[in-house]
Amino acid sequence: MDRDRIDQIIDTHGCKASSLIQILIAIQSENHWLPKEVLERVSERLDVPMNQIQHITTFYKSFSLVPKGRHEVHVCMGTACHVRGAQGVLDTVEDVTGIKPGETDVDLKFSLETVNCIGCCALGPVMVVDGEYHGNLAATQVEDVLKTYE
């Protein structure tokens, strides 16, 4: 991510320390992760020490300090999905991709995350890949769904 774009994002949020989280969210949603150079630039511009930025980026779940794969797989582990077999879906995703939640595979193909609830409880269990919802998913269907992503 180039410096100009980072500065642009910072400026649209008013370049103040209280906007730190909103700025990081904006950067993460565009770049998918938060590289160290980016955080250093944010630290410099907002005059917020790096340790505080580290505190924030490790406290909030949606920030990633490591690169993400081409496809982001989110398995919903909310209560409704849990009672409908989300664990089985997650187990199968782990088997198929060879990674655990929070990890990215070596080919940078898939990143796997669990989410607490995406609010599509009627469709549980739900897996979201790159924003595309796969609802009422049986563990046995997971492999076929993941195969459609290159």
């Binding site: 969210i25 909030y60 949606s62 209560t79």
Partner: protein, 637 residues
């Protein structure tokens, strides 16, 4: 659009909008809430629009993309106006037929709801049992408007409450009405909203803030999302009225970023409201100034707690602070701050428009109005339901929810989010309101209602919530950080068959520890354990003996193929994702226990006429058959 500067201009605009609309012009309202979108509603909208264009009917039929009316289970759903014909599970391929039916004023029978008892088809939305037994004062609006259109909201009487409040009433009077209505906070605490407003209003510091708490983190709850996505102006109108009553000139809407559509719709609503003069300087010529900013949550459950939310708004980590001082006295940037949940704000226009007495005429002695629940889990009609306070759990689960799918037996209803509790069958006739739920060892919470059937293991369920809370504990208070971990360790042992004598008693003692925490996350953490221990102790006992009666805890049961029943049809082997089924043609199949992941695919695959695959509870699986005994010798046909 020119800014509206007075009551006269406001009335003129409303009249103009209404007169430009023909109530008899056919309109196809398509739910494009997150649930229906996930089921392909966007493709349906495109197909309908294409068809209308192809037939040159743009002037004659309108397509309206709306928020969620609640019946997520049967999406994508559409309602055709003015008849209010409701079609369920509509596919893009149905578009042509739907358009034709609108033009010819006919009904498409196959897309109608079929009553499960009588087998009759139901034409109108309001006659479907799922809707008929609800009282939809808030989410009922969703299907009537396009959330991105402020004119749609004005057409159904939107912003009239704001006009009434800021142009005709004194702030104290508005606070008085809210107090009189008996409205209690819908976010979980159930604190009387009017009193909270008054505290903030009376706090000496003149600079005050109002905040919408839309950090809906409870897994299994999505009421607030539906309101923000479907009727963002309703929430906004409530907030502006509240700001006027409290004397705040700046507000924040804190919404979790996992709800992108809600963020989008509310941001757009704020822009439109500014354009029209419902936000900004000198609102409707009343002299009242107010602006709102949207802030996104970055994925921390604890930020739903008000003091944590405030810290997050300040750009810090979401760690709760001791109360008092309450946010009403010292909140955001140490200024008096009033935080209410989305649904609470959404109720405000209703109270102003209809009056506190009308609002209080619904509900029970201590809990007034309606409550939106997300009815999910093992229930036939999953979705959002809005019911009067005081309705029984049984009515919600059976009359509205349609009961348990698949002939399974009801086990419990869980309310109140991760720190709530479970209510067994014996409490089904309990009236649902703030006080009754608390008395039953659960709580209202924000409105998640998860139905559990016989296949849900209550020990695993308690473990699920504790692991959630352990993950989400911010770590500030030792009793929460350490106490939850200790409870979780015991529950993990139990679900793996490693329970030790005295574990249950120790668990009970531990539940007293984390309640010494600052916020509701730690204080409420023992609830899932306490309520399941109270009502389902037998399941805990079974786990102590290494058995999981609900066949959920994978270490405590095994899949087994009964040799005398297996007909070597190979169905199970083909479905097994782990390659754990041994056996070929004419050979009795066996489960390789070392490879088996207990996914249950074999049990589902085994044809019911053989029913050879079974589950064995806690016992050791019989040894595999010797090779020579496995061949099936079939008689001649």
């Amino acid at each position: 659009m020119a800014k509206i500067n007075s009551t006269v201009e406001f009335e003129a605009l409303r009249k103009e909008i209404l007169s430009s609309r023909d109530p008899n012009r056919p309109c196809i309202a398509v739910c494009t809430g997150s649930g229906c979108l996930a089921l392909g509603a966007a493709k349906l909208v495109a197909a309908l629009k294409n068809e209308i264009k192809a037939q040159g009917l743009e002037q004659r039929i309108e397509v309206r993309e709306t928020g969620c009316p609640g019946f997520c289970e049967r999406g994508p759903l559409i309602v055709i106006y003015p008849e209010e014909t409701c079609y369920l599970k509509v596919q893009p391929a149905d578009a042509k037929e739907v358009i034709a039916s609108v033009m010819e004023k006919k009904i498409i029978d196959r897309l109608l709801y079929v009553d499960q008892v009588t087998g009759e088809r139901v034409v109108h939305e309001m006659d479907i049992p799922f809707y008929k037994n609800q009282l939809r004062l808030l989410i009922g609006n969703n299907i009537k408007l396009d959330p991105t259109s402020i004119d749609d909201y004005l057409a159904i009487g939107g912003y009239t409450a704001l006009e009434k409040a800021v142009c005709q009433m004194k702030p104290e009077q508005v606070v008085g009405l809210v107090k009189e209505s008996g409205l209690r906070g819908r976010g979980g605490g159930g604190f009387p909203s009017g009193n909270k407003w008054e505290f903030t209003r009376n706090a000496p510091d003149p600079e005050k803030y109002v905040v919408v708490n839309a950090d809906e983190g409870d897994p299994g709850a999505f009421m607030d999302r539906a309101l923000l996505e479907g009727s963002p102006h309703g929430v906004l109108e409530g907030l502006i009225i509240g700001a006027y009553a409290i004397g705040a000139h700046e507000g924040f809407l804190y919404v979790r970023q996992e709800y992108p559509l809600a963020v989008h719709n509310i941001t757009l609503a704020i822009q439109k409201a500014e354009e029209y003069g419902f936000l900004g300087k000198n609102i409707l010529g009343s002299g009242f100034d107010f602006t709102v900013e949207v802030a996104q949550g970055a994925g921390a459950f604890v930020c739903g707690e008000e003091t944590a939310l405030i810290r997050s708004l300040e750009g810090k980590t979401g760690e709760p602070k001791p109360r008092p001082p309450f946010p009403a006295v010292r909140g955001l940037w140490n200024k008096p701050t009033n935080i209410n949940n989305v649904e609470t704000w959404a109720n405000i226009p209703l109270i102003i428009n209809k009056g506190p007495a009308a609002f209080a005429s619904v509900g029970t002695g201590g809990s007034k109005g309606t409550k939106i629940f997300s009815l999910v889990g093992k229930v036939k009609n999953t979705g959002l339901v809005e019911v009067p306070m005081g309705i029984t759990l049984r009515d919600i689960v059976y009359k509205i929810g349609g009961g348990i799918p698949g002939e399974k037996k009801f086990k419990a209803v869980q309310t109140g989010g991760p720190a709530g509790g479970c209510m067994p069958e014996s409490l089904l006739d309990m009236e649902v309101d703030f006080d009754q739920l608390t008395k039953a060892g659960s709580m209202m919470g924000s409105g998640g209602m998860i139905v559990l059937d016989e296949e849900t293991c209550m020990v695993d369920f308690a473990r699920f919530f504790l692991s959630f809370l352990a993950e989400e504990s911010c770590g500030k208070c030792v009793p929460c950080r350490e106490g939850i971990q200790q409870m979780l360790a015991i529950l993990n042992d139990l679900t793996h068959g490693k329970g030790k004598k005295g574990d249950l008693e120790l668990l009970e003692q531990l539940t007293e520890v984390s309640s010494a925490s600052l916020c509701a996350l730690g204080k409420g953490a023992p609830n899932p354990v306490l309520s399941t221990l109270k009502h389902f102790r037998d399941e805990y006992q079974a786990h102590m003996e290494g058995k999981c009666p609900a066949f959920t805890c994978k270490s405590l049961f095994s899949y087994y193929i009964e040799p005398e029943k297996c007909q070597a049809c190979t169905s199970c082997g083909k479905k097994c994702p782990a390659g754990a089924i041994e056996g070929g043609k004419n050979q009795i199949h066996m489960v390789d226990q070392a490879k088996c992941t207990k996914c249950g695919a074999c049990l589902q695959a085994c044809p019911p006429r053989f029913a050879a695959v079974t589950r064995i509870l806690g016992e050791v699986v019989p040894p595999p058959l010797p090779e020579e005994a496995r061949t099936i010798v079939r008689g001649s046909k």
